[in-house]
Symmetry: C2
Subunit: 271 residues, 2 copies
């Protein structure tokens, strides 16, 4: 399992780094769009398997609109708000006419998945196109802030995993995620803060600000992980899928990144 | 039943007209905020009764933020986006820790109710504070556009009701709403278009634009009514409540107005 996990990482990490840093940002937009769509597909499949309706195509359309909105490679098209409004009306009308008559569950579940996976996930692109010198603009954006975020989250996930394996004794939330320990969580938290200091220059932050952002990611990422566990528990699943050998599914792989991206985008935009 | 319905209308209509037209708009903000909160409370109660979790207090907070955002009586406070972000994070964290472990259903249902009742309902305030001469600004707004919207929806609802009673023969959607007829729907549609022509000057529209807007409201309002029926069907309820003698609950009373407000706000803002 660990061997598979490392082998997947050895292939995946260079690809993701290249996509994050590639000049112009098109590979980052395509990769984020693809991964969020795959993760939402897993979520919709889990919901359907649990008997809760989730409309995969309406949700996918919503996620694509959010990705177009969040990227700053080209100006967001003028028709974007109208498309979002049109999509919402069409969804309401279609749900009114559907023979299964589940508008509350179907719209609710779909909205929840779009907000969680699409809303937080598209923050990855806000970070990608944010520039230390120009703020939320494309010009000057070079992908280093996104790479820094990925490094912090990888440090968090790996340190939590290995600290948990080596020192883990005290269960943190046995009813949600039976294998999480306080020792693993602390290891992840401090690794994220340390990675935040090391990557501070890539985000245009002072070392102190970098440590604070790393610590915030250290908390948010682990909450994101627990949140996904709670979702899987409600839907009666252990993994979100099996697409990534040793890592479970796409949603399992990005659960902490989603919350970390939301915190990082807010942190950078706020300044 | 009809007598009760007319008596409630005889008390309610003058109050609502006064609140819509009152200079400055404060009564409109308070009335819209109160009615949307009551309607969301009914929705949350129906969900809970049907065994679907819905978080009434988180949803109410979301609706209040939307009302503050949509009113233009005073500039929207600077902390509004931060409050929305903070509220969203707190909601995610609380749902992660809840012992019932229903994050998908609970967040989904709450989001759906906030988007439907709060998102469309706060469009009433966008219409209230829209001015034919100044667009989406407070200065110059006098409440006539909102009154015009109310008149069109009342014409729609009353004409659909009476045309259905007098001429109704062909069922329109027996599986959702057994008493709706094609004749009633057509009567409502034409009454809304006619009311749109008559109220066109109050919205700063040409008679032709008024007719088109009235016709759009004539469709949207009836879809809104069917949508609420589909929601009640999923949740196993006949009325959303019993607060308004002869009219059912608050949500029953505003179901067509919600969709009509969304269409009208989009129509006015778009120009």
């Amino acid at each position: 399992m660990l061997k598979k996990r490392l082998a997947t990482a050895a292939i995946g990490i260079p690809l993701v780094c290249a996509a994050a840093l590639w000049p112009g940002g098109l590979p980052a937009v395509v990769l984020v769009g693809a991964v969020l769509t795959l993760a939402f597909g897993e979520f919709a499949a889990l919901c359907s398997a649990a008997g809760i309706p989730c409309r995969i195509w309406w949700g996918t359309a919503g996620i694509i609109l959010l990705v177009i909105f969040a990227q700053a490679r080209v100006p967001a098209p003028q028709w974007l708000p109208e498309a979002a409004i049109f999509l919402s009306w069409a969804f309401l009308i279609v749900e009114t006419g559907r023979p299964d008559r589940k508008p509350v569950s179907a719209i609710g579940t779909t909205l929840m998945g779009v907000a969680w996976i699409g809303g937080l996930g598209s923050c990855l692109l806000m970070v990608r196109f944010w520039s230390p010198h120009h703020g939320a603009a494309f010009f000057g954006a070079d992908g280093r802030p996104l790479l820094a975020l990925l490094i912090i989250v990888w440090a968090l996930d790996s340190a939590a995993f290995f600290a948990g394996r080596l020192f883990g004794r005290t269960k943190i939330a046995p009813s949600i995620s039976p294998r999480k320990t306080v020792e693993g969580a602390l290891g992840g938290f401090f690794a994220a803060a340390a990675a935040g200091i090391l990557t501070a220059p890539m985000m245009g932050q002072s070392p102190a600000d970098g440590a604070a952002l790393g610590a915030a990611i250290g908390v948010a990422g682990q909450v994101g992980d627990l949140f996904e566990s709670a979702v899987k528990r409600e839907l009666g699943a252990k993994d979100s899928g099996a697409s990534l050998p040793g890592h479970g599914g796409w949603l399992d792989r990005i659960d902490s990144l989603l919350f970390a991206a939301g915190v990082t985008a807010w942190w950078l935009m706020r300044a």
